[in-house]
């Protein structure tokens, strides 16, 4: 009875993991890159100057710019520069449009207040968006990635159930033993980073909970969803215009008063409703990276014409703190450099967990069929998808970064071409994996990815004025860091290629395969 339950859970683990494995691999790898979203964006737009950040002076520049360029807009949003993202970004709503297309965003030089003319690129934001929108329209991508998250949660829990001696097995690692080593590696990564796997997966559902599970909102608010959002997020209320023009107060003066609320903190975002109207309101929100928990209540609202305080920051109730903590833990905005790298490696751990699982699924079945000599179509399909889903994705990421450096900086619509390059390379990797045999396809795609990534610093040096010598001399460690990280990833991939080639050479010897002992208690 108990054994039957465990077998059923092992079956679910295997098949749910297989069907969603490639999608999850892509979600986790691009999500892992997103921990360095701002850094990759800075690398992708090296023209944006690194300035000594003065948030208050930037705010004055933003106000001047918005009054000149968006005076009739009903809503402004100003993201102040910080150490990670030194650009000042302003966004406003077009008064004649509605919905998501109504917002315009410009990046300003925080010192001069002029629009920065950097190369058109989505940079790290592309990976970040792909990670949960999957290049699909709203809301389909979010639903699909949330479904994948639920499947990940199911595979994690069934994986724990399947491996009954999970902590004992953690200390058994048998390298150089073929599929047994893969299983040991899969288990070791699974256990070692288990708290991260569970946290990151469950929190992704919490982030989208109002989209995924709106039933309780509808019931308790009797269908008035907006009332729910107004209640839990201050400053979300839509204001009615007075229709009387009145000048907006100097935001830089309000900045000082807002910061008194959080003497050791930072202001992250300033939003203005109805600027230039007598009913205008200004809201200052605390920087999301100041605390682990994302706290929508950490905001102060002023009247836009008089500067009088309308609403002080509120203390959030326990459920909001819990939800905000899951949100904050997932995003990792609070993390300093060391913790950020730890996040990155944990994310890689989750990605490898999925990757080793996919490789094992195929390896076990290939071994079974190696004796009979028949190669069923589904094994070949998984083989191709494994290569394209893993090696091909890494290659596509490298392709995106190469496109960023190769396309002329002034070329219009180049951001779209970068994205096209990503998907074109990915598509080609599927074609390549389909025409080449398994291990050859792995070796060739990973070799190319290794060369492409390791060659990025050289390419930056040749095609931009922001190569490694310049960025190091200027002390721009973000720019240099991305170049060095690409080189590091290239070297790691080269090492992987060497390992695969050695194993493929060993497997070609028939004596070795016959000598492999059959493990009686292999799960999966």
């Amino acid at each position: 009875m108990r054994e039957g339950f465990r077998q059923a859970m092992a079956w679910l683990h295997t098949w749910a993991g297989l069907v969603f494995g490639w999608l999850l691999f892509a979600i986790f790898l691009t999500g892992t890159l997103s921990y360095f979203k701002d850094e990759i964006s800075h690398w992708a737009q090296p023209e944006i100057p690194v300035r000594v950040v003065d948030a208050q002076a930037s705010l004055a520049q933003a106000q001047t710019y918005l009054e000149a360029n968006a005076g009739n807009s009903p809503r402004w949003f100003i993201s102040l520069p910080d150490a990670r993202e030194p650009a000042l970004s302003v966004m406003w709503q077009d008064p004649n449009k509605r919905g998501r297309g109504a917002f315009t965003r410009h990046t300003l030089d925080p010192q001069t207040g002029q629009r920065v003319e950097a190369r058109d690129s989505r940079g790290g934001d592309f990976f970040y968006r792909f990670h949960y929108e999957l290049q699909m329209g709203y809301p389909w991508g979010r639903w699909l990635s949330s479904l994948a998250a639920l499947v990940m949660l199911v595979t994690l829990v069934t994986g724990i159930i399947t491996h009954k001696k999970i902590f004992k097995e953690f200390f058994t690692f048998r390298p150089g033993k073929g599929s047994r080593s893969w299983l040991d590696g899969h288990n070791a990564i699974g256990v070692l980073v288990l708290p991260f796997h569970l946290m990151i997966t469950y929190s992704s559902l919490v982030i989208f909970m109002t989209m995924l599970m709106p039933a309780s909102i509808n019931s308790r608010y009797d269908g008035d969803t907006q009332a729910f959002f107004s209640e839990i997020y201050p400053g979300n209320q839509r204001l009615a215009a007075a229709g009387q023009p009145a000048p907006l107060v100097n935001l830089a003066v309000l900045y000082d008063r807002a910061l008194q609320q959080w003497p050791d903190g930072r202001i992250g975002r300033v939003s203005v409703q109805l600027p230039g109207d007598a009913n205008a309101q200004v809201q200052f929100s605390r920087h999301n990276g100041d605390t682990v928990s994302r706290d929508p209540g950490a905001a102060i609202t002023f009247a836009g014409t008089t500067g009088a305080v309308l609403e002080l920051p509120r203390d959030s109730a326990a459920p909001m703190v819990v939800a905000g903590t899951f949100y904050g833990l997932h995003m990792g905005l609070f993390a300093g450099p060391v913790l950020r790298w730890l996040y990155f490696f944990c994310g890689l751990g989750s990605t490898l967990l999925i990757g080793t699982g996919l490789v094992m699924w195929l390896g076990k079945r290939q071994l079974k069929h190696a004796r009979s000599g028949v190669r069923p179509f589904e094994l070949r399909l998984v083989d191709v998808l494994n290569v394209a889903g893993m090696a091909g994705l890494v290659l596509a990421i490298a392709g995106f970064m190469w496109a960023n450096r190769l396309l002329p900086a002034t070329y219009p619509e180049r951001a779209g071409l970068e994205v096209d390059s990503f998907f074109l390379v990915w598509l080609l990797s599927i074609v390549h994996a389909a025409v080449r045999s398994g291990s050859k396809a792995w070796v060739e795609q990973l070799s190319l990815a290794a060369i492409a990534l390791a060659g990025l610093p050289l390419l930056s040096l040749l095609t931009t004025d922001h190569g490694l010598p310049v960025s190091i001399a200027a002390g721009d460690w973000v720019l240099a860091g991305v170049d060095f990280s690409a080189l590091g990833c290239g070297l790691v991939l080269a090492w992987v290629v060497v390992k695969i080639r050695r194993r493929a050479a060993l497997a070609a010897l028939p004596a070795m395969r016959a000598a492999r002992p059959v493990m009686p208690n292999e799960v999966h």
């Binding site: 059923a8 919490v206 599970m213 109730a317 326990a318």
Partner: protein, 101 residues
């Protein structure tokens, strides 16, 4: 459950498909009904109760999915969802209309 390729019957495939539908859609409905009940029953402000209910609903979903694949047959999986589902639906309906003005 057997998983060896090429050795499964059509009825086995249908049973698996039935379990998948039960897990994905049945599990969702069960989780949504549970979240409505929790949101009404938790003794806190309604916004807080709703946020708590939404967070807990995913755990209900998870357990429902596991149940659908752990039960002995596909029909038992459906029955196991339907019984708590009907109870929760009755409770949710009662709470919802009781509080309406």
């Amino acid at each position: 459950m057997r998983s060896r390729i090429g050795e499964v019957s059509t009825s086995y495939r249908w049973a698996v498909a039935s379990r998948v539908v039960a897990a994905v859609f049945g599990g969702y409905v069960l989780a949504a009904l549970a979240s409505v009940c929790i949101a009404w029953l938790l003794p806190m402000a309604r916004g807080e109760a709703v946020v708590s209910a939404m967070m807990l609903s995913f755990l209900v979903y998870l357990v429902a999915v596991l149940w659908c694949f752990a039960s002995h047959s596909a029909s038992r999986a459906w029955v196991g969802l339907a019984i708590p589902g009907l109870v929760l639906a009755a409770l949710a309906g009662l709470l919802h209309w009781q509080h309406l003005p």
